[in-house]
């Protein structure tokens, strides 16, 4: 039973008066604990697909397609359910890290738990949350950088913070958008190893978007995307 199913998904963006189709009936499925890599060139629609899967965007209503996570149709989620889905079920790792520059490393990692628990809930579980976050930062090798700001970190360190942030909420689905795309080969390789190791430890399923065949080769399945269509598996 797949944890994620994408069936006949279309997505069109509107630029002024012009409709720009990005995805044309994409299908894929992902078993729990497995990794699928979406391989494609720039502009092939792979990041758009990732955003749709992560609930950051909605697919076209017509032609009708569905994204099903754990038996639930993500397309039918209310705004609140989508927020909860992104917070509880999904963890994002972005190419450009997307850390909040004013927050420390530790606070950046804790952000998802703060959002999840609310003020009182977080205060009640603050110790537990901090232990989880510091544990993850220790595992990514940044226990000495807890109070540092993102601007004080290297690219590889920032991405490791982003990985810790994505995993701190124990998501069942990890979505990584070119996680090594902004790093040199050596650093990127190390970050990818770390990401895959930690994911494996948590047992999360993972969709990884990449244009690098070597990165894709680390996945259980590879879906090739070109011009918004699946062109090979």
């Amino acid at each position: 039973m797949p944890i994620l199913t994408v069936a006949n998904i279309h997505k069109t963006y509107r630029l002024g008066r012009i409709d720009v189709p990005v995805l044309h009936g994409v299908n894929l499925s992902l078993e729990a604990g497995k990794i699928v890599a979406i391989l494609g060139a720039s502009g092939s629609g792979k990041s758009t697909l990732l955003h749709l899967i992560g609930g950051l965007d909605r697919p076209d209503a017509s032609p009708k397609g569905t994204i099903t996570f754990d038996g639930r149709d993500v397309g039918r989620f209310s705004a609140g359910e989508l927020d909860s889905y992104r917070n509880v079920d999904v963890g994002f790792v972005f190419q450009f890290y997307h850390l909040l520059p004013e927050l420390t490393v530790l606070d950046n990692v804790l952000l998802g738990l703060m959002i999840r628990h609310g003020r009182l809930g977080y205060l009640a579980k603050a110790r537990e949350c901090r232990e989880r976050a510091t544990g993850l930062l220790e595992r990514v090798g940044l226990s000495h950088r807890l109070k540092h700001r993102p601007a004080e970190l290297s690219g590889g360190e920032r991405q490791r913070v982003a990985i810790a942030r994505a995993l701190v909420t124990k998501p069942r689905l990890l979505l990584a958008d070119e996680p090594t795309g902004n790093l040199d080969q050596a650093t990127g390789g190390g970050v990818l190893d770390l990401l895959l190791d930690l994911r494996a430890a948590d047992g999360a399923a993972m969709v990884i978007v990449t244009h690098d065949p070597n990165t894709a080769a680390r996945a259980d399945e590879v879906v090739r995307l070109a011009d918004g269509r699946v062109v090979g598996r």
Partner: protein, 527 residues
């Protein structure tokens, strides 16, 4: 939780929110200072109004009413009444020793009873003081320097009795107690006390001589009044040179400039309101005689009436001032006293039918009624100024709005990240509104501190501006009081701060909604 964390981080990591806080601080300080000064002005006006007229007054202007001693006895027998004072209110002129003549308000008062009803005793300026004024650290105040002088000590009694001993006859003469600003001979020093001015005059032989301007020592002023007959028709004006017994300072420039107190019996005599014989009404046009015109020659002759046409006329006053028992600080308490006074007047009017004004006609008013015109005017001015300054809070709204609009553009990516991590639209709105509240709170509290500092030091600041920059904003001739009120009403300050905190939140609301409506993917891709 993340909202409070980000609010703290955003607040102190950027220059823009600090500038917004400074703007809110200046706006709120301005409103609090203005409200404090205007509110203090109003409170001083009300307080001073009461100190000069008591709590309730019975008034029958111009010709006055007789049997006032009976009315006083009835009033003072009532447990609600503490004291009463008979008063005559009239207009007249004062002729000063330097030849200047001015139109003034003259009040005939019986010193001791007037002092029981009002704060007359405390307003008498020339009396010995044991400690100099707060700002007079050198003790230059003549009242302090001459505190042991026997002559100076006598001034207080002279003032209280509105009389002065004539050095030629050795007899006590009924006199006048003028407002301290009336003569123009008293120079107000920066420390808050007065010193008699040094006035020099050129003599006929060309020499310069110094004129003694300390009127309570030996000065006299001419007081001119226009008596009326019982029908209210004017008679011949009458002028008397009266000794100046003392001077008073109420703190209200208008009063201190334009009111002179004359001993009651002296003014009654001048205005022909004293006890005596009068021509029966309808038989002569004048109160003490008649002018007969010869139809042949047209010559006017004053004819004294015969004894048979005269009636006994008791002394009259135009007002009775009443002080109530205990605390009468509120308008309601004064109103209760007014109702009781009217009941007593009803009985009095029934006891003297046809001789005193009917109880429906007589004016019985509280201190609030008597000052209503001035109080209402100041209330309206205060409201007007506050409305104008309320527009400043709208400025604060737009200021915060503009700054937040700009900041949200800068923070678009942060909003996308938060949305990707599961933050709701409501959470994003609350983040920015909370941020606006924080800016309002920081600015408002800083404004409060600034306002307190300014208001507490407003008089020294004003004096400094006058000395250094030649800017005099608070002209006592315009604003009644010689000192700027320097008290902050804590509630007014609280309302102003809350107003600006809410204004800042309102200013943040629109950008906050814009932030919440941002598409997460577009926000993440924003460069």
């Amino acid at each position: 939780m993340y909202q409070s964390l980000l609010t703290r981080r955003y607040l102190f990591s950027k220059v823009m929110p600090l500038l917004a806080s400074v703007a809110v601080m200046l706006c709120s300080a301005l409103v609090i200072v203005t409200w404090s000064v205007m509110g203090g002005f109003l409170a001083m006006l009300i307080g001073t109004g009461r100190t000069m007229i008591g709590d309730v007054s019975i008034s029958w202007p111009n010709i006055g009413f007789p049997h006032y001693q009976d009315l006083r006895d009835r009033l003072e027998a009532d447990p609600m009444v503490s004291a009463t004072a008979p008063v005559i209110q009239a207009y007249g002129m004062v002729a000063l020793p330097n030849g200047i003549t001015r139109v003034i308000t003259i009040r005939g008062v019986d010193g001791p009873s007037f002092a029981r009803v009002t704060s007359f005793k405390d307003t008498l300026w020339w009396q010995a003081i044991d400690t100099p004024l707060a700002k007079d650290s050198d003790g230059r105040d003549p009242r302090y320097q001459l505190r042991d002088s026997a002559g100076f000590k006598r001034l207080r009694d002279s003032g209280l009795n509105l009389s002065r001993v004539n050095p030629d006859t050795g007899e006590e003469e009924g006199g006048v107690v003028m407002g301290i600003e009336m003569s123009g001979f008293n120079l107000r020093e920066a420390e808050g006390f007065y010193t008699p001015k040094v006035v020099e005059r050129r003599m006929p032989d060309g020499s310069i001589t110094t004129v003694d301007t300390f009127l309570p020592a030996s000065g006299r002023v001419g007081i001119t009044v226009l008596p009326l007959d019982r029908a209210g028709n004017p008679l011949e004006s009458l002028t008397k040179k009266l000794p100046v017994a003392n001077e008073f300072r109420s703190g209200v420039y208008e009063i201190d400039r334009n009111i002179a107190l004359v001993r009651l019996d002296v003014l009654q005599e001048m205005l022909r309101m004293n006890a005596g014989l009068r021509v029966r009404e309808g038989e002569a046009s004048a109160g003490t005689g008649a002018v007969v015109v010869d139809p042949q020659t047209g010559k006017e002759t004053f004819v004294r009436p015969s004894e048979g046409e005269l009636i006994k006329d008791p002394a009259r006053v135009t007002d009775i001032l009443i002080r109530g028992q205990g605390d009468r600080g509120t308008g309601e308490q004064a109103e209760a006293l007014r109702r009781r006074v009217r009941e007593i007047y009803d009985e009095f009017a029934r006891a003297h039918p046809g001789e005193v004004p009917d109880s429906f006609d007589i004016e019985i008013s509280t201190w609030e009624d008597n000052n209503r015109f001035m109080i209402e005017a100041v209330k309206k001015e205060t409201a007007l100024v506050l409305v104008l300054f309320a527009f400043m809070s709208i400025v604060a709204v737009f200021l915060v709005l503009a700054i937040f609009w700009s900041m949200i553009s800068e923070k678009t990516k942060d909003i996308g990240i938060l949305r990707a991590l599961g933050a709701s639209r409501g959470g994003i709105v609350w983040l920015w509104v909370r941020y606006g509240l924080a800016i309002g709170l920081v600015g408002g509290v800083a404004g409060l501190v600034l306002a307190y500092t300014i208001v507490w030091n407003i008089n020294p600041i004003h004096e400094w501006m006058g000395e250094q920059l030649n800017i005099v904003i608070w002209d006592p001739r315009i604003y009644y009081f010689t000192r700027i009120p320097s008290q902050v009403d804590p509630w007014h300050a609280f309302y102003a701060v809350v107003g600006f905190v809410l204004s800042s939140a309102v200013g943040a609301l629109l950008p906050a909604i814009r932030a919440a409506m941002l598409h997460p993917v577009k926000a993440l891709r924003f460069e």
